[in-house]
Symmetry: C2
Subunit: 330 residues, 2 copies
DNA sequence: GTTTTCCGGAGAAGCGCTTCGACGGCGTGG
DNA sequence: CCACGCCGTCGAAGCGCTTCTCCGGAAAAC
């Protein structure tokens, strides 16, 4: 591998001049710059990442901490990762992948100066990692909204706003009795705050529009779907529409409705909020803009790496797409 | 951040002694070792990754190159990634994630000495990256089997063996006319060699067992499934079993069969090879052991990082799991 | 008792890069 | 016409670690 000294020799300048040409941190005459650039490309020179990191205390790498447990939708995570990697690369950064959720990994990569900052996914309401991250002092962006962000910036989907949009859509069609099929009990138990935020938005939006409501969580099984429907109807007789915040349970729910002869949207309107629908299952609703969230998180992170400053929360929204699963009530 | 000099001072030894305690590359008396370890944990010392990389020309990082195009099953990729990260961490390595498929990224991370080696996913039969990787000279493991591996080690699922196992299972049940529902035309066109390897194994196994065959690719749409069935029947009248190598088309295929009133397995046995079946759709068949492949790839890579040597191909198999979608022919 | 061996530890030389301070040579203003 | 300032470049000092070489002393060999 060629070193900066090799380049300097070929170009007939000093090593520091080569460094300044490459970094642009000092004015260099056009002639010298040209000679250096020629030498760089002739030798195929590329700075040694470790040496650069040592001298500049900048690694050009960000850590991406993703959960791998089953509660998350792999498609959404994948999109998210894509957004992160693409954006990082667009800003001359690489991405180190961390999957273990223990805090040990976070400490390791930061105190070894392996990364310039971190993007941490799937932050729970009382996530123990938040305190650790704040203490570590490296630039960090949280994806998810903890109760106490400890001054760290947060990015997430506006679940409350999405629910308001969805219920407003149904209300505009004339629906006055709407049930919410909530997230799986396991994800609620895990403290993923988005379930609550969506529920609040739903109730507030319904109240504004004069819509009667009922809510129930839903396990991602056939029986879970039937039980959820029964519970909703017990609390709210004959709902004319359903808002579903549970992509995993959706197939079972639709199966249960089909089994009892209910047609969508003729007998019942259904709106979905969550992961992009797979295949034929696409329903009217809002999808989590995972790619945008990833992009936004990285942009926020890189800003703080350049100029550390306090965190602010950023909620992203997405449009309601009509795919024909809603209609006026009969 | 504490440096090795700080540790040395606290422990009352020289920096080199600290280094040797940490690396274990020289004998150190129990007494000094204890003092050094005490100092290390008291200061929370962790070696600077860049400095270490510069001095030792070892980064402790491996690159994982994954495709993000739609032809791959996200669930399988996720499992694979999990296997890679978990295994790497178990051997004190981290994982840098590359998603762009251009060769530029490969050159960048290797010639910048960002990584010690690479695991490259989704290698096509004539993948242009293989030549580049061989030329770069860093330890590399390919996941997939190119026509010419250029001396690089390969790891993959034994698709041919899986097909033989599946057809043997059907033959043992008494089936004598079996159709193969192949991969999507797009993945075949992309040169993903596994489609061909599976087909060869299928034909060879069928020939051994005296089973008549027909094969057809299958697009992952409802019409694609119907067309595929029609094509198979045109070539092989009244097949009694189907081997499906196409998880994306599977739901449509089952839908088409249900629509024509064919029951599985009473009227038709179905065996699947591919991604683990989602939800209720699980069929008798073999699943790609993505986790194992990831693990195996990293193990092979780390071996070569320690002691470079030529590549060999390793094919992993998985068991046929009976989930009740096969039965003797009527 | 002397010589050899071996073991544990110290010292120092880099690894390849960034960046600060210094320094000529030029143009400008007084 | 001289002093001053600015621009472009160089030299050198690290950044924090690994590893080679060397060295003193204790144990082993003779």
């Amino acid at each position: 591998m060629a070193t900066i000294a090799d380049v300097a020799q070929v170009a007939g300048v000093s090593a520091s001049t080569v460094s300044y040409v490459l970094s642009g941190k000092r004015a260099i005459s056009a002639a010298t710059r040209a000679r250096v650039e020629e030498a760089v490309s002739r030798l195929g020179y590329r700075p040694h990442a470790g040496a650069r990191a040592l001298a500049s205390s900048r690694t050009g790498v960000i850590a991406l901490v993703v959960p791998l447990h089953d509660a998350v939708d792999v498609g959404v995570v994948m999109q998210f990762v894509r957004g992160v990697v693409t954006t990082a690369r667009a800003h001359e950064h690489d991405v180190l992948l961390l999957t273990q959720e223990e805090t040990a990994g976070l400490e390791r990569v930061t105190s070894a100066s392996l990364v310039d900052g971190l993007v941490v996914l799937d932050i729970g309401v009382d996530d123990p990692r938040v305190g650790v991250l704040a203490r570590l002092g490296r630039p960090t962006v949280l994806v998810g909204i903890p109760r106490d962000p400890h001054g760290l910036p947060c990015v997430d989907f506006d679940f409350a706003g999405a629910a308001r949009t969805a219920v407003a859509h149904l209300a505009a069609l004339g629906h006055r009795r709407v049930g919410l099929v909530g997230a799986t009990p396991s994800s609620v138990r895990r403290g993923a705050g988005y379930a609550d935020r969506l529920c609040e938005g739903f109730l507030a939006g319904a109240a504004d529009a004069g819509v009667a409501t009922a809510t129930a969580p839903c396990a991602a099984t056939a029986e879970g779907a039937r039980a959820c429907l029964a519970e909703l109807r017990a609390r709210l007789p004959a709902p004319t529409a359903l808002l579903v915040h549970n992509e995993a349970a959706l197939p079972h729910l639709l199966g249960a409705l089909a089994a009892e002869g209910a047609r969508v949207p003729a007998d019942l309107s259904v709106v979905s909020i969550g992961a992009p629908g797979a295949g034929e299952r696409a329903l009217t609703g809002l999808e989590v803009p995972a790619l945008d969230i990833g992009r936004s998180a990285v942009e926020a992170l890189l800003e703080r790496i350049d100029a550390p400053r306090a965190g602010e929360t950023r909620l992203l929204s997405s449009p309601l797409v009509d795919r024909g699963s809603t209609a006026p009530p009969r």
